[in-house]
């Protein structure tokens, strides 16, 4: 066993160096949270397991709910349209197959667990928006029929480690939409030399949430001009085994269906026609 430790260490440092290089190369802005478990007893560690890849991040501070921890850690959440704000349907656009209108089916949903650092997963008896994780604990999300995340809750550490389970991380630029409020309010996280290289020439405030799965600067720059005005893009490093899948997933986010002013005018005209007809009929019959 002793023989394997240096190997593991080398592997981890190698991974860290690789991600650091990738960061420097990509000239990333700092993500709202670090791409790893939290250090010490501060922050809430968020583990997201899609069933094929595991993604661990840290939500700094004391998020009021597991849902807030999830979004503060930099994951984008889509709700079912019928249960907005209380049920998780997609995380980072996964699964794209669910239309996110009704409650997700019992065999393909995001199961929500919580745990202490280094402890065991507990299937939460309260919802993501009502469970308040204590700082220094872990919340886990596993897509499937309610199975546990495939990785154990991260051990308590004093230093930041890169992503937990994975093989060599493949950083990809996966711009995700987060509001300006979140970006500014979320405390900058512990490590990552990314903050030092922050100027981010490739990122403009109007990058659409549909990213390109490649990691080149030109790609993210070329993606910028045609987006809607609202979201601010904050690319972050996604260290996962199936990076392409996660990175490609956000394209499924409902963004294309914004019909705009024409629809509004048509809708107003239609309503005015029918409503005016009702008013006119009532007035005519009264007279």
């Amino acid at each position: 066993m002793r023989g394997s430790e240096p190997g593991l260490l080398r592997h981890l440092t190698g991974a860290a160096a690789a991600s650091g290089l990738a960061l420097a190369g990509l000239v990333m802005t700092s993500a709202p949270a670090s791409a790893a478990a939290c250090s010490g007893t501060s922050g809430v560690t968020v583990v997201v397991d899609t069933g094929s890849s595991v993604n661990t991040r840290c939500a700094a501070g004391d998020p009021a709910s597991a849902l807030k921890a999830l979004t503060a850690a930099g994951f984008s959440v889509t709700y079912p349209q019928q249960y907005p704000g209380s049920v998780v349907c997609r995380i980072n656009g996964f699964p794209a197959s669910d239309p996110c209108v009704r409650m997700p089916p019992a065999d393909a949903y995001w199961a929500f667990f919580h745990a202490t650092r280094g402890g065991g997963w507990t299937y939460s008896s309260s919802g993501v928006s009502s469970y308040d994780p204590r700082p220094g604990t872990v919340v886990g999300f596993r897509f499937g029929a309610g199975q546990q995340p495939r990785v154990a809750p991260p051990e308590p550490t004093a230093t930041t480690a890169p992503a937990v389970t994975t093989t060599k991380p493949q950083p990809t630029s996966a711009p995700r939409t987060t509001s300006a409020r979140e970006v500014t309010s979320a405390p900058r996280s512990t490590s990552s030399g990314a903050a030092a290289t922050a100027p981010a020439p490739g990122v403009t405030p109007s990058v659409p949430p549909s990213p390109t799965p490649t990691a080149s600067r030109s790609a993210s720059a070329s993606a910028s001009p045609s987006g809607p005005a609202t979201p601010t893009a904050t690319p972050s490093v996604t260290a996962s085994t199936s990076a392409t899948r996660l990175a490609a997933a956000p394209t499924a986010e409902p963004d294309d269906g914004s019909p705009g002013v024409g629809t509004l005018v048509a809708a107003a005209a239609l309503l005015a026609l029918v409503g005016g007809g009702a008013g006119w009929t009532a007035w005519k019959r009264r007279a």
Binding site: L67, V77, T78, Y79, Q81, Q82, P84, G85, S86, P99, V101, R102, S126, G127, S129, S130, Y131, D132, T177, S179, R181, E182, T230, P231, P254, D255, G257, S258, P259, G260, V261, T263, L264, A266, A267, L270, L271, V274, G275, G277, A278, G279, T281, A282, R285
Partner: protein
């Protein structure tokens, strides 16, 4: 050409149409579709309501709907689960113990959450407006006459209880008008004895009239039914009701075997219908001026069914067209099929015969005018 003569459309047809509209509305939170459904319902009510007291109740249902929307929004701000990105209002939040999770007292209000709450309230409000439209369009007394014969005792009890309050009010108004014509303008408590006695007499007279009318149509008379036949009728009805209850349980519970669901429910309903028919065969009773069920009635029910079927189909196939996009916030879509389906629901406003013109109301108005001229 007969169908274009003014006449009251069968109340059951209006109820069928209104329930269809309510089912259609229940599938959507798209504000454009919700408001369109509200306009359609208001149009039909405006075009086809009668002059009876309950026909004016539609406005009350609209106020009730407004109160529902307001209450939903206020509750969301006070104790609702807030979510979203766009801050509307920053309120202090009360920290609750962990067992009260799911309730958030105060806290920052976001536009998305506020809109979701308002639209949920609007959906309920429009559904209630649909039911209010049925109430305004359909005469409840005539609807009760359409009850199966076996239930005629319940029917008469309900008719009596339903008509007491409006008849009492009408009676009071009549007595007051008569006093006014005689120059008696006493108001307040002192007027009570002079009003109460005539009203009491009026009520008694009307009750006797109703009793006589019902007696002449066979109410209260029992045919001789052989014991074995009564037993069969009771067993069939009871068995049907039991099977219906079991069937509903089977339909709602996914873990029960499939045979316990829809087949049992259908069998139960059929048995219940058979029991009602068997029981009604031995109730000798005639109907005065039976309400016809002609093409206009089929058309009215059909329009409601088309609206409901269109929206339910769209919600099964492309549900994203029927919801307000909240995350991220966007302009609601204006899908073609649901709009057309809802507009079909407006057809009864033009294709059904107009309600009969009231004769009594014009006479009353003339009488009042004369009083004013004389006074």
């Amino acid at each position: 050409m007969r169908s274009t003569l003014p006449r009251a459309v069968h109340p059951a047809a209006w109820w069928g149409w209104a329930i269809g509209m309510a089912v259609a509305v229940s599938t959507t939170t798209n504000p454009v579709l919700l408001l369109l459904a509200l306009c359609v319902v208001a149009l039909v009510v405006a075009a086809r309501r009668g002059t009876s007291p309950w026909a004016r109740a539609f406005r009350l249902y609209l106020w009730l709907g407004l109160a529902i929307v307001v209450a939903r929004v206020v509750l969301h701000v006070l104790v609702g689960l807030k979510f979203g990105e766009i801050v509307v209002l920053r309120l202090p939040e009360v920290t609750l113990p962990s067992w009260a999770a799911g309730i958030q007292v105060g806290g920052t209000v976001y536009l998305e959450g506020l809109l979701a709450a308002a639209l949920a309230g609007l959906r309920l409000a429009v559904m209630i407006a649909c039911i209010g439209a049925a109430n305004a369009l359909a005469n409840p007394k005539r609807l009760l006459r359409a009850l199966p014969g076996a239930l005629h005792e319940i029917g008469s009890a309900v008719v009596v209880s339903v008509s007491v309050a409006p008849q009492l009010a009408e009676s009071v108004q009549r007595v007051l008008r008569a006093r006014q014509l005689r120059g008696d303008t006493t108001r307040g408590l002192r007027a009570v004895p002079t009003v109460a006695l005539p009203v009491l007499e009026d009520t008694l007279e009307r009750s006797l009239l109703l009793a006589a009318a019902m007696d002449s149509r066979g109410y209260g008379r029992t045919d001789h039914v052989p014991g074995g036949h009564r037993l069969v009728t009771g067993a069939v009805t009871l068995g049907g009701l039991l099977a219906s209850a079991v069937g509903i349980y089977g339909v709602l519970d996914a873990t029960t075997p499939a045979a316990m669901g829809t087949p049992t429910l259908l069998a139960g309903l059929a048995l219940s219908g058979l029991g009602l028919w068997l029981g009604g065969r031995h109730v000798p009773r005639t109907t005065y001026r039976p309400d016809p069920w002609r093409g206009a009635e089929w058309l009215t029910v059909g329009c409601g069914v088309v609206a409901a079927a269109t929206l339910v189909t769209v919600s099964r196939t492309t549900p994203e067209l029927l919801v307000m996009p909240l995350t991220p916030l966007a302009v609601p879509p204006l899908p073609m099929a649901p709009v057309v389906g809802l507009l079909v629901g407006a057809l009864p406003a033009y294709l059904t015969p107009a309600p009969p013109r009231p004769a009594a109301r014009a006479a009353h108005r003339g009488a009042r005018d004369r009083v004013v001229v004389r006074g």
